[in-house]
């Protein structure tokens, strides 16, 4: 109990922060002259960005978004230096990944800061004009800036965790508390059947709830499902199993319903809210927390869910996330079953 405030303050203190160091970007330099190189240098020197690629076409930029997971792409127009001297206004195009609105707005600020510094530099030395560079933002993935895009994947995740993990662990713990579990173990019923009998109804319930959330977000909030609905449903089923395996783990280590509730809330629900990237961008957390986030399946599920719904990813694009989810659930199930068995032997 006493560890709770410590855990809370550390989790919240480190996870809720609006800084995003080393955001991945691509730069498409159409002019390749001295000034464009200077701009690129100041972007790199700012420490805000990590330039992962220098594409040579709009098509390559699109590939960088899907394959390198860049947050933004900057396009420097042709004859950049000439335009800086002769024209009143030079447009710099920035393509921003809007699927995470919080991250996108922070990145936009960073770019504007760097450009302002760049302008000040050249003002002093060479050209003497102000307000020369205009940034035009082009939004990718979520042009309507719809916040539904943000919270629908999060809500689906929380529903799955609450119904499948919390409810099934509580109901299993209750069986132990009321002694009915002992009664069941004495009967010829196999242990795995008892557990399945307890977990399957909640899995079905959480799947139905997920379908409802999807239907409401599509029909009322006009959220798109750009990818294949079938792939989306497969992903949800996989995550349902992962949540159920967490429920199994929790019931294996908790003796009472209260234990089960506390462990789910502190050990699963809170980390899921904070470390899944659903409310707070993962990129700006300390490295240790980013590593920790990998253990919780929600991160992988939300990434895959967003890719399918917003970016229209196919199964091939998200197979890695699905593999991670399956790996986590297999590991947890094996661990929980051996835990329950060990209890019998000791």
């Amino acid at each position: 109990m006493l560890s709770m405030p410590v855990v809370l303050i550390i989790l919240f203190g480190f996870t809720i922060s609006t800084e995003i160091p080393n955001a991945k970007i691509s730069i498409y330099d159409q002019s390749e002259d001295v000034q464009s190189q200077r701009l690129i240098q100041s972007l790199i020197a700012s420490d805000y960005f990590q330039v992962v690629n220098y594409p040579n076409s709009e098509k390559e930029i699109a590939e960088d978004f899907s394959q390198l997971q860049i947050k933004a792409a900057i396009i420097i127009p042709p004859q950049f230096e000439k335009k800086l001297i002769s024209e009143k206004e030079v447009e710099l195009q920035v393509i921003n990944d809007m699927s995470d609105i919080n991250v996108a707005s922070v990145i936009k600020q960073y770019i504007e800061t760097v450009i302002l510094n760049f302008e000040n530099d050249i003002n002093l030395t060479e050209f003497g004009k102000t307000g020369l560079l205009k940034v035009s933002i082009q939004m990718k993935y979520n042009p309507e800036l719809n916040s539904v895009y943000m919270f629908v994947p999060g809500i689906i995740t929380l529903i799955m965790i609450i119904i499948t993990a919390l409810m099934s662990s509580i109901t299993l713990a209750r069986e132990s508390e009321t002694n009915t579990m002992k009664m069941m173990l004495i009967t010829p019923v196999k242990k795995i059947h008892i557990v399945l009998g307890k977990v399957i109804p909640y899995m079905a319930l959480s799947f139905l709830s997920t379908l409802m959330v999807l239907a409401i977000s599509v029909w009322i909030f006009e959220m798109p499902i750009k990818g294949n609905l079938f792939v989306l449903l497969i992903l949800c089923i996989v995550f349902m199993f992962t949540s159920a395996s967490f429920g199994l783990l929790i019931s294996a280590i908790s003796k009472t319903q209260l234990d089960a509730m506390m462990i789910t809330m502190m050990g699963l629900f809170l980390p899921t809210v904070l470390l899944s990237g659903f409310l707070f961008p993962l990129d700006n957390m300390p490295y240790g927390f980013q590593l920790l986030a990998n253990i919780f399946p929600a991160k992988w599920f939300i990434l895959a869910l967003k890719d399918i719904m917003i970016k229209g990813a196919t199964f091939i694009d998200i197979w890695f996330y699905v593999a991670v989810l399956l790996f986590i659930s297999t590991l947890l199930t094996i661990f929980s079953v051996t835990q329950i068995d060990r209890r019998r032997a000791s």
């Binding site: 009321t178 002694n179 009915t180 002992k182 009664m183 069941m184 173990l185 004495i186 009967t187 010829p188 019923v189 019998r344 032997a345 000791s346």
Partner: protein, 239 residues
């Protein structure tokens, strides 16, 4: 013919020996009292016989099957009722009986007849659709015993079945036990009530993991030179 044969059964938890090398036999249809203070190892021994715990060493044959290699068959042949009530509170009387009967794969037609018979015997026919949470403790205990007999087990393990109920219900409960034993069911019972111990055909007393004494209540009293089972019991427990 013995339905329970226990041979050098031992259970250790780390360096603590909960059950130390106990051996005994129980005949078919016998009412066998398993006495001992709290922590004497009764519950551990009983859990091993029901297949809930694996023994550290030793062997046993329960209902003719080997404890280690044939636990599946054993589970079909035994019934169990615990000190703490162990039916589902949020199901009705009939639903509980249906549930456990179905788990033991009693054919449906047969199960319905048996449930009707048991409920009539318990005078609960009019209450069969009442939630178990709403009935008095005494009823619950009798119902749990009756449910443990639904699949016609060869042995019924009763773990302090009558604790917390009044003398009248205890008397009724024991008449159910006698009836079952008369039909050939072996009754293996732990109890804290010394008067109940004298209802048993044979009793055993456990203390500190050892099986100290075993025999008929009258024999034991004579052998130890005491007048009541209570004296017999305190003799071992206070040492």
């Amino acid at each position: 013919m013995y339905t329970i044969e226990v041979q050098n059964l031992t259970k250790r938890f780390g360096s603590f020996t909960a059950v130390n090398n106990i051996s005994f036999q129980v005949k078919k249809g016998e009412i066998f009292g398993f006495l001992g203070a709290n922590g004497a190892g009764k519950t551990t021994a009983m859990k091993m016989m029901c297949g809930l715990l694996l023994p550290t060493s030793g062997s046993a044959r329960i209902a003719g099957y080997d404890l280690k290699s044939e636990s599946k068959q054993i589970k079909k042949e035994i019934g169990y009722m615990s000190q703490r009530f162990s039916l589902y509170d949020d199901l009705t009387i009939k639903e509980n009986m249906m549930l456990f009967g179905t788990i033991y794969k009693v054919p449906k037609q047969e199960l319905n007849e048996r449930i009707e018979g048991h409920l009539t015997e318990l005078n609960l026919m009019n209450h069969k659709d009442q939630l178990v949470s709403s009935i008095p403790l005494g009823w619950k205990q009798k119902l749990a015993f009756s449910t443990a007999l639904l699949h016609r087990p060869k042995i019924v393990f009763l773990d302090e079945p009558t604790s917390g109920v009044d003398p009248i219900v205890r008397r009724e409960f024991w008449s159910l036990i006698y009836k079952a034993a008369a039909q050939g069911v072996t009754i293996f019972i732990t109890t804290h009530y010394m008067d109940e111990a004298s209802y048993c055909e044979r009793i055993s007393i456990m203390a500190e993991g050892d099986l100290k004494l075993i025999g008929t209540p009258t024999d034991l009293k004579i052998r130890m030179g005491v007048n009541t089972i209570e004296e017999l019991f305190t003799h071992f427990v206070n040492r």
